[in-house]
Each structure stands twice: as C-alpha cells, then as structure tokens.
C-alpha cells in the first residue's frame, strides 16, 4: 500500500513524516523546504506501507516545479490513500485544498495539525462535525509532539482497505454544467485520477494536462474554450477565479460551522514582529543575530581546534619518527592521519555549532523575515527576496541550495539564484575560512571574507542582470508564525546533515589525503602544480597549492587538508603569510563549486547551465582573489 502526504506549504507534513520515518526529510519553518518527494516504509497494523512526503502546495494547479511534483506524482504512481495535512489555524485556506483533493477519487483522510497552536490562539474546532460535513475521516494532531499520529495512520489504513472514495462537493450550477459536458469527452479513456478532477483542472487551464489530453483527443481544446467562454460570459470572471472562489465559499461555510474563536490576549510572540521587522531596529536585530551566530561558531570551533590540532601534530610527529620519515609507509600513514585530523580538528568543531544554529534559525521562522527585510537589496542584484532561501541554505551546503531554487517560478530567476548561491561559502568552505583565516589571521579577517563574499556576489548578480534583465513579478511569500523548535527536531536535523559529512565527505578527505601523499612520494604533484602555476603566479601563492586546489573540486575541505599534506605540516603559519592565506581562501570560496553541487546544477538546470556557472565561478574567483592581493600590495 502507498499513502501520500499532501498539504499546503509549512503545515507540518515533513515533521509528521520524520516522526514516523526518523529524520529523513528536511524540515524548516518556511514555505518550500520540501521540493521533491521522499519515501519511507512504515508499519501500520502489521502491514508495510510506503509513505511519501510531497512538497507543499496551495492547490494542485502547481505554478512552480516544486508544486508540480505533487500532481505529477499522483498521476504517475498509484496511491492507495491520501493523508491531507492542514494547519488548524488556517482552516479555510487548508480546506480549499481538501475540496480539490476530494475530487481525485482516492481515499482521503484529513489531518488537522497544530492543534496546540490553535488552542493558544483561542480557536476551538469541532472535528466530528467537520467529519460529517466532509464525509471523510478527520483526525486532530500535534505532529511536533507525536500526538495523534498512530490514530491517523490506523484510520487511513482502514479507509484504504475499504477503498472509501470521497464524494466531491458540488460547485455552483454553471460550473457543474461545464464539468458534466466536458466529462463526456473523456468517457472512453483511462485516467489515473477521476475524470472529474481532470475536467476541473482543464477548466482551470492547467497547461500540462491540457497538452496531454489534447494529444489524445485533439478536438477537446475547442470544447474547453467553448465552456470557458460560456462561464466567462455568465459571470464576467475567468473560470480559474470562479472555481477558486467556489472552493473558498464552500470552505468558509464549513469553517464557520465547525470553529469558534475565543478571546485571547496578545503575547510577546504576536508582537515580536513589531521589533524584528521594525524599519530601524529590525536591521539592528538582524546584524546582532547574525553576529552572535558567527561569534558562537567561531568561539566554539576555536576552543576545540587548538587542542585537537596540537594532539594530531604530535601524533603525526611520533609516527614519522617511529617509521622512517621519508619512507613510503610513513608518508601514507601520515597522509591518513592528516585526513582524519582535518575532519576532526578543522571541520567538525565549526560544522556542528553552525548546523545547530542554522537549524534553529530555520525552525523558529526567522528566515522568511530576513527575506522580507532583504528583498529590496536582493533586487539590486537582480533577484527578489525569495532567493534568500537558496542563499541561506547555501551556507549549510550548496546542494540543497541548488535544489531549493525550484521554489522560484521563473526560469531566469532559478538560473541566477543557482549561479549566485554556489558562491555562498558552504560549511565545507566555512572550515577553510575558520580553520585557516580565523584561526591564524584572526576572526575579523574571517568576518571580512564573509562580507567581501557578499559584495562580490552582489556585483556579479548586478553584472549578470545586465545580460539577463529581471522580468519576474517579484516576491510572493507566506510569512510563517514563530514557532519554538523542540530540542529533538533541532538535534535530529543537525545530525541529519552532520552524518552526511562523517559518512560521505570525511572518507573522501582521508582518501584524498592518502592519494596526495602517494602522489607526493612519486613526485607526480609537480606536474599538477605546474598546471595551476599561472594562477598561483597571478595570485602570489606558493606553487604547492596547485594540487590541493584541483582536488578541492571533489570536496572543498580537501583544498585545506591536502595543503597540509602538500607542505607536510598542519602548522599553516609556517608556510604561508597571512596575506597568502586570505588570498588563497578567497579563491577557494569562489572557484568551481564541489562535484556534488556541479551535478545538482546539471540535474536542476541542465548541462549548459552547469558549464556556464562553473566557468563563471573561476573567472569571479580569479578576479576576487586578485583584487584582494592588489589591495594588500597597495595598503
């Protein structure tokens, strides 16, 4: 059996999914965290059920690629039951999607999530009454605390067994007439969802379905147009609006019958935006919050990096002394130790606090506030506030950042935000910035690199906009309410991302370090170094950085870890001047994103975009690093 979770953005589908699946799907308190589907197997009443978490969507009429996934999935794969999750505090809006789902002709259960939030707002809901009005099971739930989940799944299992198909609600007469008339056309054919659903989507003007159906039944287009004309003539409004208004009317009617609002007092949480979105104090808070974040990551990381590095340097010396220092075995073992120590001493101390902090900011709902305040600035680089989501995710890892560009409606916006967010220093590059620059040169230099990075990204965006002018309508976004995240979700989320480093990236770092040791031993690196010599000459870097930079394309941390290998020490201060460290780091931050990112760019935007973005980053990296070097020479 297969159950699908469907609901509007930020209603807690992924939270529910993670409660039953362990942490598998990314969650966050903003619209559009889930951009593709995630599947898991769960056990319900002894049966193994496939559960799929689909991206949030306001209607089945998806207008961006992430929302499109929902309808495509339902059309492609047989789903035995749909679990429709709605936010108790936005009942009317949630029910409009429920009404649409009832048309699909699949067993349906309605889950009313966030009952605790509704209670806090003094909202009372009569679930039984709603159940009788809709004719489908209605289950209350508090997904963050795991309440009501078992009951909901048991109920879903039962209706899936019974194949209980909901009866769709009836629209106004004129719409129903058109629906019946068009339905005749499709009579002969087989469709994965009910014909009524398809006809309604055709009337709403879904371009993909219209194309598909008209290929099978060529004359259907004329018929649709005729019905649209009739509808438009009768009500002087377009069919899309007419149907949407109908759903809203029905939803409102139901919501009125089942909910009652009690008096509540405004709490600090309701007034928080008066401060955090204040025209002046809002920006002060923004700087303070991000500054604090930076400071905590730095403080925590430095505290651990120093003793760990000392320990591993000591260990490395012992090994080299014990074995023959210049022998093959000694070099290989030392390479492995440097790979291990790089992950443990340089990357993890900064990665852990960073990911915990980012998860907290995501879950509390602050990201969308940043989008709101930064929208006008983003316009200056040819994007709008929504692009802040890939940007901020990019600080964690560029791969989800690239994937999250799906929440943008416009293709040009997707390309530009993907190109710019690959230049955002991800956690891997954070390790280079903190492990090298903050540690050896000082925290202000590291902070400076972050600001310089933003400046360069803005200038690049500005320049690209000259060639690809902005034509998208701009920001359309739902503002989530503040939610206090639970310790469990924060740690699960951080672990989800740290695990990826430990099991996927770290082994590559160790292997890379060993490979380099071997290459060093056989003097192969000389040729690779020679390849990058022009760059190094231009940027005034030691020739040994060539090979690490090439390997950095696999994982950005490699460029730092292998640097230690190349020089034979992790005491970077002995081999590079502070200026060289800064220039090197600036180059590492910008040049070609790592392999995983390159691949996801190809998946999302195609091979052409992949080559274009990779080439762009090399040009930008060279200019940005050169500019820094010239700056040092002049001042």
């Amino acid at each position: 059996m297969r159950f699908a979770l469907i609901g509007q953005p930020n209603c807690g589908k992924s939270t529910l999914f993670n409660q039953v699946a362990g942490y598998k799907a990314e969650t966050g308190n903003f619209a559009g965290t889930t951009v593709t589907f995630t599947e898991t197997k769960v056990r319900v009443l002894g049966d193994v059920v496939e559960l799929v978490d689909l991206p949030g969507t306001y209607t089945l009429l998806g207008t961006n690629p992430a929302e499109r996934v929902v309808l495509d999935y339902l059309v492609d794969k047989p789903v035995d039951a749909i679990i429709n999750v709605i936010d108790a505090t936005h009942l009317v809006q949630g029910l409009t999607l429920t009404l649409e789902l009832m048309e699909l002709g699949r067993p349906l259960v309605l889950v009313i999530n966030m009952m605790d939030e509704a209670k806090r707002q003094g909202l009372k809901l009569d679930g039984e009454k709603l159940e009788s009005l809709l004719g489908i099971p209605v289950m209350p739930m508090i997904a963050t605390r795991g309440q009501g989940i078992r009951e909901a799944f048991t109920r879903t299992w039962h209706i899936a067994q019974e194949k209980r198909i909901p009866t769709p609600k009836v629209y106004s007469e004129e719409i129903e007439k058109s629906v019946i008339s068009l339905k005749e056309e499709l009579e002969k054919d087989n469709y994965p969802v009910s014909r009524r659903a398809i006809v309604v989507k055709l009337l709403e003007g879904d371009p993909v379905l219209t194309e598909q159906v008209s290929r099978k039944i060529p004359h259907v287009l004329e018929h649709i147009q005729k019905e649209l004309d009739v509808l438009c003539h009768q009500s002087s409004r377009q069919a899309v609006w007419l149907i949407a208004s109908e759903r809203q009317r029905l939803a409102r009617e139901m919501a009125r019958k089942v909910s009652s609002q009690q008096q509540t007092q405004l709490t600090l949480r309701d007034r928080l935006d008066d401060y955090l979105l204040h025209p002046f104090w809002g920006y002060v808070f923004l700087l303070a919050i991000l500054g604090l974040f930076f400071y905590v990551v730095y403080g925590f990381g430095k505290m651990l990096e120093e003793p760990l590095l000392n320990f591993f340097n000591h260990l490395d010396m012992l090994i080299l002394n014990a074995l023959h220092a210049n022998g093959f075995i000694a070099q290989v073992v030392s390479g492995a130790v440097q790979g291990i120590s790089g992950g443990l001493a340089i990357v993890l101390p900064y990665l852990v606090p960073f990911l915990v902090g980012l998860g907290f900011l995501e879950d509390i709902g602050y990201l969308t506030r940043i989008a709101f305040m930064m929208d006008s600035l983003m316009h200056r680089m040819g994007l709008h506030g929504k692009a802040i989501v890939p940007f901020i995710l990019g600080y964690g890892c560029n791969v989800p950042a690239i994937m999250s560009t799906r929440i943008m409606e416009d293709k040009r916006d997707r390309f530009l935000s993907a190109a710019l967010s690959t230049m955002v220093p991800c956690a891997a590059r954070l390790a280079v910035v903190f492990g090298l620059v903050a540690f050896y040169v000082g925290p202000w230099a590291a902070l400076g690199i972050y600001f310089y990075n933003l400046l360069i990204i803005a200038i690049t965006g500005r320049i690209i906009t000259i060639f690809l002018p902005e034509d998208s309508p701009g920001l359309i976004l739902e503002m989530p309410v503040y939610r206090w995240p639970t310790v469990k979700t924060i740690t699960a989320k951080a672990w989800f991302r740290i695990r990826e480093f430990i099991f996927e990236a770290w082994p590559i770092l160790i292997i890379g370090s060993v490979v380099l040791a071997i290459m060093n031993y056989f003097s192969v690196t000389r040729y690779l170094d020679a390849l990058l010599q022009p760059f190094n000459w231009l940027l005034g870097l030691p020739r040994e950085v060539g090979t690490p930079l090439i390997f950095g394309i696999f994982r950005k941390e490699l460029s730092l870890i292998m640097l230690a290998q190349a020089f034979g020490t992790t005491n970077y201060a002995a081999i590079m001047t502070p200026q060289q460290m800064v220039v090197f780091t600036v180059f590492v931050v910008f040049y070609v994103p790592c392999l995983a990112t390159i691949i996801s760019i190809r998946n999302e935007l195609g091979a052409k975009a992949m080559w274009a973005i990779s080439a762009l980053t090399v040009v930008v990296a060279t200019f940005a690093a050169l500019l820094v070097r010239l700056g040092f020479l002049l001042f």
């Binding site: 306001y58 609006w241 305040m373 929208d375 309508p473 701009g474 920001l475 359309i476």
Partner: protein
C-alpha cells in the same frame, strides 16, 4: 479603485481584481487574493521593500511589483 501600493499601513481594503498575466492571477488566487476578499496592509519594509499583508488571517509578503498589480478598494 487603487492598487495595493497606494494603501496606507493599517487600512483594510477589498480585492477588486488582479491585473497581470494568467500565471500571476493563478498564483495570487491560491494565496487568497480573490475578488471580495479583505486585506490589511500590516507593514512595509524600508528602502522600497515588500509589503506584509493580512489576507484572510494569513500573513503574505508581496514584492512591490506584484502589489502594484493588485487592484483594491477601501472598505
């Protein structure tokens, strides 16, 4: 009839229609910008930033370009 950009903070208005492409109409219809629905401008971001609106109990952010295409009238 005015567009949303011309509405002062804190005022309630009623949607008349959305002028813009089909895509935009559809997108905004999903978020509750349907004729007759009530909207309040909660605040606007500085430096010609977007508007924060109360649309049928839900908070929606609209960039200025989009807000300009939403035609409303005062209640």
């Amino acid at each position: 009839m005015v567009n949303l950009l011309q509405v002062k903070n804190g005022y309630w208005v009623k949607v008349v229609n959305v002028a813009g492409g089909v895509g935009m109409e559809r997108r905004l219809a999903q978020l509750g910008f349907l004729p007759g629905n009530k909207i309040r401008v909660i605040r606007s971001a500085p430096f010609h930033g977007p508007l924060l609106l109360d649309v049928e109990g839900r908070e929606i952010v609209l960039g200025r370009g989009v807000a300009r295409s939403v035609m409303v009238e005062y209640l």
